[in-house]
């Protein structure tokens, strides 16, 4: 038995998200569609149900059992707004199983942008609106207003942390990127450098404040990417030196990793979807709490980590450039490094003013669904020729095919907005635009 005081705790956070994938749109469809018709609801339903069967149901069930068995078991989730929307569309039963987890009181839900968007990089107003909407929805569904923020794909910078602080969040998650840590451990709390945002920005942010006051000192929790990726990416890799990974070994790695809290952040689909059931991932997860317990490793939510360690003096995590959790570069290059991505992103955000002017909820929702970061990830040509992970995660044939669909949707939206005049708005009673 190890000395309890030397063992770090573990903080699990799982990202739950599904994008609205696009239909095989054609140029001849442009100008002929209703809002929302861009999306391939059949395919989205099929994927949602498949992932529900392989991941959401079995993993939620397992976590529920673990919570019953181990009273101190804790876990955190971030459910994107578009995921919740898909629950309403395709799987109220999935939402119920998350509610059952929430009812135990041992699960923390984090805040994010409703549409799992990159709006933090393009529009402060849009970003704040999406965060506000997400927080409201989470509170309505699970009864607790999130105090911790995680931005899409862990896209993080000093500026984003400052915005989160001004919105009233106690904590924010980020990637424990080596180049920013310079040899320091990711297993302790950090804080962003303090500086002042322009007054105009502050006003925008204040307008959307999530909690009654801003936070004095926001804390940054860093992902321990080595240990996280051992589970998320390497678990079933037979050429990996750590294969096969047992709960015993992993708990030992966690213990020897030291610090305050080992933050294991990953996509929830790791369980059963990215790592299939036959890899033994569920048995691994089931065995973990006992192995942690043996070594005095406590499981904490991000809020608990801040409560427990937040008063101790901590170091600055200085992210003057943006970091994310994607690819080996850990930057924005998965979404913003080629002509397709720039054209799609700038083209989309250029419509912001016109979309707001329309005051049409369906148009706004469609525009926002196109903001989901996955659309830009599918356009990545970074490793395209190598046929790697981007290919695995894309529903389309190629980045060029992804662009064909996206650019058609964008063209249609542009056309609709051009046609949209106050007069036509008066004639549509149900909020749907006139054709």
């Amino acid at each position: 038995m190890q000395n309890k005081h030397t063992s770090p705790s573990v903080c699990f956070y799982f990202q739950v998200h599904q994008p609205y994938r696009l239909k095989d749109l054609r140029i001849t469809d442009i100008g002929q569609m209703k809002p929302g018709e861009y999306f391939d609801q059949e395919k989205n339903r099929a994927i949602f149900r498949k992932v529900a069967e392989k991941c959401y149901f079995p993993t939620n069930k397992l976590l529920l059992e673990l919570i019953e068995q181990y009273p101190d078991f804790r876990v955190a989730f971030s459910l994107s707004g578009v995921f919740i929307d898909q629950c309403h569309d395709f799987g109220p039963d999935v939402l119920e199983s998350f509610k059952a987890l929430a009812a135990t009181g041992k699960v923390e839900f984090l805040a994010e942008t409703y549409y799992h968007s990159l709006s933090a990089l393009f529009s402060r107003e849009e970003f704040c609106q999406q965060v506000e909407r997400h927080v409201d929805m989470i509170e309505e569904l699970f009864g607790v207003r999130p105090r911790i923020f995680r931005n899409t794909e862990l896209v993080y910078s000093n500026e984003i942390a400052e915005v989160a602080r001004l919105l009233g969040f106690r904590g924010i998650l980020a990637e424990g990127a080596d180049h920013l840590l310079s040899g320091r451990s990711p297993n302790v709390l950090y804080h962003p450098p303090s500086f002042e945002l322009p007054r105009e920005w502050q006003q925008t942010i204040a307008h959307h404040r999530i909690h009654s006051s801003t936070t004095r000192t926001i804390r940054t929790l860093l992902k321990n990417y080595r240990l996280s990726d051992d589970i998320a990416f390497r678990f079933s890799n037979k050429t990996w030196s750590g294969y096969p990974l047992t709960a015993d070994t992993f708990a030992e790695w966690v213990r020897s990793s030291g610090g305050q809290s080992v933050n294991l952040f990953m996509d929830y689909e790791t369980f059963g979807e990215h790592q299939w059931a036959d890899t033994g991932i569920f048995e691994f997860l089931r065995a973990l709490p006992a192995e942690f317990l043996k070594r005095g490793i406590a499981l904490l939510t991000p809020s608990q980590v801040i409560t427990r360690f937040g008063r101790k003096p901590c170091d600055v995590f200085d992210a003057h450039a943006i970091v994310s959790w994607a690819d080996i570069e850990r930057d924005l290059s998965a979404w913003r490094s080629n002509h397709l991505q720039e054209a799609a992103l700038t083209g989309l955000y250029a419509l912001e003013h016109a979309v707001r002017e329309s005051e049409d909820p369906a148009l706004l929702d469609t525009w926002r669904k196109l903001q989901t970061s996955d659309h830009f990830y599918y356009l990545s040509t970074k490793y395209w020729s190598d046929g790697d992970v981007h290919k695995y995660f894309s529903p389309y044939d190629s980045p060029y095919e992804a662009y064909r669909r996206f650019s058609h949707a964008l063209e249609d939206l542009r056309l609709v907005l051009e046609r949209f005049t106050p007069a036509s708005r008066c004639k549509t009673e149900d909020g749907r635009r006139k054709k």
């Binding site: 095989d24 054609r26 140029i27 001849t28 080629n338 002509h339 397709l340 720039e342 054209a343 040509t381 395209w384 020729s385 044939d397 190629s398 980045p399 060029y400 095919e401 662009y403 064909r404 650019s407 058609h408 063209e411």
Partner: protein, 415 residues
Amino acid sequence: MLRLVARVREKQTDMSLHTLMFGWEYPPVHCGGLGVACQGIVRGLLHHGAKVTLVLPHDEASEEGATILSPGSLGGEIIIPVPTKLRPYDSWRAYAQRVTEGSEPVDQLYGENLGEEVERYTAVATELTKAVRPDVVHTHDWMTLEAGVRASRHHRMPLVAHVHATELDRTEFRPNAWIMKRELQGLMKADHIISVSGYTKNLLIREYGIPADKITVIHNGTFASEPLMRLDDDGGAHPLVLFLGRLTVQKGVTYFIRAAQSVHRLRPDVRFVVAGEGHLLSQLIQETFERGLSDCMIFAGRVTSEEARKLYSRADCFVMPSVSEPFGLVALEAITHGAPVVLSRQSGVAEVVHNAMLVDFWDTDKMADCILTVLREKPLRSEMRSQSKRILLNHTWYRQAGKILSIYSGLSSNS
């Protein structure tokens, strides 16, 4: 002849591998990709220091560093018509007849005396190369296979059969039984097979029952290790969409015409060029007329390499709608000249040219949509072009020939 044999023997003294290669077409006498690929492979092998003795049915080719043997060098000339010397004025009816009655495609593709010609080539070529001392025998496609089998037996050296196309590709899966049988027999006798794509490898496994481990995929290559600079990208007043290839069923040119009609409906400013010749020409002209495309469709006929380069450089979109394309060198040439490409999924080159829009050849609506998107979206064209350099760099003939050499070495050390 004596002088030639002596020179060949002289070259036996050092240790480099000597390949005895049986080819069918070779620049300047060639009609399609086979000749170009053959030249690429020969030059690539020479670059690596291999010795090449190439046997051709004609004596108009020359290649510095390689020994070329042709029937002409025996004094007795034989004339073997190159595969696409077709009867162009017959072709429409012949095509219709074949489709409806299933008559033999061999007549259209190779002329009636092909069987005899191949037999003569085989006999002469085998005789011609008895004095050569190769380490390996390498054939290109079925016409040279039997010559290769005999030479391999005579010299007791391994046979490598290079498959650039199968009878199934050439005939839209209505093969001539005689040719397919010869193909199969030859391939079974080969010690190893090189296929120009994974697409072709799968076809050889599936349709010919050849064991997978006997086939290695070596994609065709290019001499251009980077794309050429291209200055204009606005399409001008009349954007140009290009088809370049033989006007045969295999190349899917009729699907190009159908897609052109859909493009034309939305973009009447677009011009289409069909470059190449073949037995479908009169039918295509008729179809163009019937679809109301006479004013925007140009039939350029057979083009020289220089003319082809100009067309590629001018094209705003290149389309390869092949029904079944073992490789498709034209796509590599198109990206070399900065033309964005729309490719048939039923092609081998799609395994290499990743910066392409892929479509099923029969899905002409989607083909049209891809063309229209390419023409509309400058970011798409820029991104496609920016990926070409890496693709070309990874597929030079020098690299590909290196892979062929390692197959030779593997076989030599086994034997």
